[in-house]
Amino acid sequence: MAVFSYPQDDINTDLLFPGKYTYSCSTGPEIREHLLEDLDPSFASAVRPGDFIMAGANFGCGSSREQPSLGLKFVGVKAVIAGSFSRIFYRSAINQGLLLVECPAAVEAFEPGDEVDVDASMGLVTVAGKEFPFPALPAEMLRILEAGGLLEYISSTIAAEGGPN
């Protein structure tokens, strides 16, 4: 488990995934190549499933492009823990099944090298053994997240209802 720490505020969607690739990269493997390219060029090759991202306030501000949330989910980031999230990114992450944790106290407490874990059902972040609670997600969003994303959730609903429309 590694923690990629970017403590600055306002990490925008162009830093997470440059706009010039928006119409040439849509799939996970394509997105991975440019993920965080202008923020941390080493991220794409270094990140492993189960890793975390720690960041400041207003993470994901800017464009509605979904490559940032789709890409972070694809490379297996377990959760993004930030001071706060921009609203479109927040929606998008739920739609992709990517866990976001809004917990400024945990970000504040984090020091490089600290062990981090998140328990979504308990609403707890652990940083170097110290626990920080975060507000539970509304039930509607939790169901989408648990299904693995919005379209997976819709698929399961359609299957339960016996066909689209």
Binding site: D14, T22, Y23, S63, S64, S84, S86, L150
Partner: protein, 412 residues
Amino acid sequence: MKVLGRAAGREVVPGEIVFVEPDIVLTHDNSAAIIAKFEATVPGGRVRHPDRIAIVLDHVIPADTGRDAAAQSRIRQFARTQGIANFYEMGTGICHQVVPEMGLCPPGSLVVGSDSHTCTYGAFNSFATGIDRTEAAGLWITGRTWLRVPDSICIDLAGGLRSRVSAKDLVLRIIGDVGADGANYMAVEYHGPGVSSLRISERMTVANMGVEMGAKIAVFPADGRTREFFQDRGASCTGTLWSDFDAPFSRTLEYDLGSIVPMVARPHAVDDAVPVSELPATPVDQVLLGTCTNGRYEDFAAAAGLLKGRKVSPRTRLLVAPASREVMLRCMNEGILQVLVEAGGTVIPPGCGPCLGAHQGVLAPGERCLSTANRNFRGRMGEKDSEIYLCSPETAAASAVTGEITDPREVV
């Protein structure tokens, strides 16, 4: 947030989640990726409400690569197969200009779009906000989604803007005050006697940039100007809704429009806004006049007023990007494009142009662009090591003449 209440069929309060059926779901060139998601989820399925879908080809038009062309071809085919009447071919304009021109965002409507600047339609008293591609695919399938009822910020406007000061200067000042996340998740409501002095094009500039302070929506009341705009556009103005006089606001900011001065947002943050007069000498390599923020008739008319009989400085270059065919035709008919081209401007097709760094005027490493667009993030116009300053059409025109960022009030 009576619009959400009406959509949900009951009274709602800030913070609660409501399920709603939007009147319009807007997508653009990204429809190709949305079609792929749609097909993967419901193979061979039909969209739930073809009449509630709008698709505008605007981001990379005409197609730049074979890949773009194939994606756009797929979108055209999907629109035909699914019977999507509100499909707008490339050249019609930027989605945020085309949706109002086609009468798709009347007062009181609920519009979601897979583009962050969907909030532009708040200028028309529409509840309009951005979503991602996956959610757009979900909406094509089910017709519904969830929204959290937002808290509201009140921006109280008084007075009128001075000569060569524009709505862009106002909104840059507001974003500088509120901050890039100061309105996150919130509704920004424009109130006060100053609202009526703002033309529709100016309200669109202000609403367009709501997302740059994090807002879910940025919304104006509907009035005579709104009704005049929608005349002959097939839109009903009877659904308008507005806050009660005693509605609670989490914060109120007051502005005297007469005190607003020309502003720029410095690289690489929209909320790093300062008066033009406080900048040191700042040469620019390119000036971009246009985009969904400032690509309207009134913007080009203001720029032409400053550029008539003058030439673009040999130190810089001027790109002119009308927001739509309708805008372009009006500017042609009134001789405005002629003035801009005679001055040395280069006209590019009605679309997003170089704003998102994909084509048609991207920057070289180390270059500096002065742009009337809405976003100056690092790398936005294609190169990590370039700079973008944001400004009004008036400041863009004055600066094109001098080759450096210039207060338009200084041009005689």
